[in-house]
């Protein structure tokens, strides 16, 4: 037995050492594109990598793009939301591994525009011409801090609405037509009152709202100033609008209105299918998500206006990391993916709402309805929401601040702390964010 093992052992070892060596050698090279040439020769095959954190509805667009650009091959990598953004930070810092095009969600955009030397200035490729197309604040978000470089082009904006389950509202004896439902809650206080009525009706297995986390985010986004002031100071402790949002969110918990399902977790997904909650805050991109998660509940969902006025939640930009081997081609691809026509197409497929105001009055958007949401005029709803949007300044560590506050809301929801104890700990946590 033993000699046989020994004889086998050496080649195996050599093989694994070799494999390791090649793996190390290969690691540095293939970052971004497959070719190592810095500029593409005409007719050469070019591979562009597009890093996203969810389905952006780009796949049909890639096919279309390839028809006019036969030498371009597009590879899409989708990673989970948090991982995607922290991977991008790591890859920028280590100068390896980032894609040619990277999506950045609005919560992280200031983190990345603060590092203008890590991204390609899209002005070089003439994309500053697109400024006229965009909502002004969306355009500004993609600029470097001093406003001289164009680092990202917007995809969508997340104008707010409230999605609700018609059938559950009917069971609870509440109105279920969208105009009547919108009339129930001009303010968040009235939203909570409606929730209490819903809870009083004891609809089996259903709570009023999924969890306070996303509601909190929406309320803060509706305020003129959010978690940061214009000088990038965190003002969680001093901004009365944040405290008010905190109190109202905890009110939902105190009144037993939440299903205690954290957004984007598997039980939350199950909650959609089981009808565990009757309302959910609905930025435009959420409609695509609901449709995906709750396939069986077509026609049961509808969309009403959001309490408390308009606000933006979510939305993304596309950026080109400087390490891309094909910045020119990547910039051209971004130009294509964010074009007016294509934003309209993606909206109709995925629900992510365009950041190009010229589309808002376009009849094909204005009259667009979705059967899944009981033929709700989602084009009109989100156009109105987007037109009324007031931009809010977002700071570089938005994501960390949100995590700290989200944990606080979670502690109250899980009954671990009183709202005051949780708030004190949130402020401590926020203070530690450097």
């Amino acid at each position: 037995m033993a000699p046989r093992i020994r004889r086998l052992g050496l080649p195996l070892l050599t093989a694994s050492v070799l494999a390791l060596a090649t793996a190390c050698g290969g690691g540095g090279g293939g970052a971004g594109g497959s070719t190592t040439e810095s500029s593409a020769k005409p007719g050469e095959k070019i591979k562009l990598t597009v890093d996203l954190f969810g389905d952006f509805g780009f796949k049909p667009l890639y096919e279309e793009y390839k028809k006019t650009h036969p030498n371009i091959e597009i590879v899409e990598n989708v990673t989970q939301f948090n991982d995607h953004h922290s991977n991008l930070v790591k890859r920028l810092a280590t100068n390896a591994g980032a894609g040619d095009v990277a999506a950045v969600e609005v919560g992280y955009i200031s983190t990345f525009t603060a590092q203008p030397n890590k991204f390609v200035d899209l002005k070089q490729y003439g994309l500053d011409k697109r400024q006229a197309d965009y909502l002004d604040w969306k355009w500004q978000q993609g600029l470097s801090k001093d406003g001289t470089q164009v680092l990202g082009l917007g995809t969508d904006v997340g104008g707010l609405a409230m999605c609700y389950r018609k059938d559950l509202f009917k069971k609870a004896g509440l109105p279920d037509k969208r105009d009547e439902v919108s009339a129930l809650w001009p303010t968040w206080e009235q939203y909570i009152e409606t929730g209490k009525k819903f809870a009083a009706a004891n609809v089996a297995g259903a709570k009023f709202v999924d969890s306070p986390g996303e509601i909190f985010r929406a309320m803060v986004n509706q305020a003129p100033v959010g978690l940061y002031d214009a000088q990038d100071n965190i003002i969680v402790a001093s901004n009365p609008d944040v405290k008010k949002a905190w109190d109202l969110s905890n009110q939902l918990t105190a009144d037993g209105l939440t299903a205690k399902l954290a957004a984007f977790s598997p039980p939350w997904n199950t909650g959609f299918a089981k009808g565990s909650f009757a309302t959910i805050i609905c930025p435009a991109w959420m409609t695509g998500f609901i449709q995906e998660q709750a396939k069986d509940s077509a026609g049961k969902w509808d969309i009403a206006s959001v309490p408390g006025g308009s606000g933006n939640s979510g939305g993304s930009h596309l950026m080109v990391p400087k390490q891309s081997k094909h910045p020119k081609e990547a910039a051209e691809l971004i130009d294509f993916l964010t074009s007016k026509e294509n934003q309209a197409k993606v909206f109709k497929e995925e629900g992510t709402f365009p950041s190009i105001p010229a589309l808002y009055d376009d009849p094909s958007i204005q009259n667009f309805t979705k059967p899944f949401f009981g033929d709700a005029p989602i084009g009109k709803i989100y156009s109105d929401a987007a037109k009324a949007l007031k931009p809010q300044h977002l700071g570089p560590k938005e994501a960390d601040v949100r995590t700290a506050i989200g944990n606080g809301l979670g502690r109250v929801e899980q009954g671990k702390q009183t709202p005051d104890e949780a708030w004190a700990q949130v402020l401590e946590d926020v203070k530690k964010i450097k």
């Binding site: 954290a262 570089p396 944990n407 929801e413």
Partner: protein
Amino acid sequence: MRHTLDMRVSPYAYVAPFFLLFCAFGLFPLVYTAWVSLHEWTLLSDTQEFVGLGNYSTLLADEYFWNATFNTLSIGVLSTVPQLALAIWLAHLLNRRLRFQTLFRISLLLPNVTSVVAVVVIFSQLFGRDFGLINWMLSWFGVGHIDWAAGTATSHVALSVMIMWRWTGYNALIFLAAMQAVPRELYEAATLDGASNLTQLRRITIPMIRPTIIFVVIVSTIGAMQIIAEPMLFGQSSGGGGGIATGGPDRQFQTLALFVYEQGFANSTFDFGYASAASWLMFVAVVVVAGINFLITRRVKGGLV
């Protein structure tokens, strides 16, 4: 001449690849981490300021660090103790002539070859609050719905079950291998003397496999102190909320390794200095706990008296 040189040098040449790899991927990171831990060092900053033991003193005053230490020890004890007892018992059961012996032995190892992601995702569903199988079964006995991920104790139990699921069979196989080396005659003699099955396990098997027990205890302790994948994935798939690496909103199941990950990689600060200091303290803790366990297990009487 050539022959002796070959004899003298080649053993070193044969072991060299391991030591070279160990230096590159084991020793160097260890030393470099210590160096980083003495600095104010983040991934994004261009300069690193030397702060001496500053990170360590901040860390020792950081209640989240101590919370993670407590969670690690708690999950460690809850998972390792029953796991090893169960493993010895399973090995004892399999250490006799059985039909389909190989089948049983292989099936012991099956949980260990399943991916940890699959295990945690499935167990998170079993431990689900609203539609979990375990809560459903408990409801037969009138136990109300338990929010497993929310409670400190309950989340530790849930995580320990996942760890036990993966490692009990593996340890049982190691024990079994050791048990097979115990001479049969001892058991035959004991049986003739009228010793019961349990007495045989206690008086013959356990003392005879003592070195293996020490080995398994130490390896399991080290493993338990480094738990990260289970709590991280449990946090994401249990629906209880919380950041990706905080182990629940109240950090109720954030382990040390997860704490290190949170500081170094999950925060957008990417505080490498602080995370490195935490890694080093974690390393010290592992050595201390493994040492204590070694001393305790060594007291198990060896040989036959």
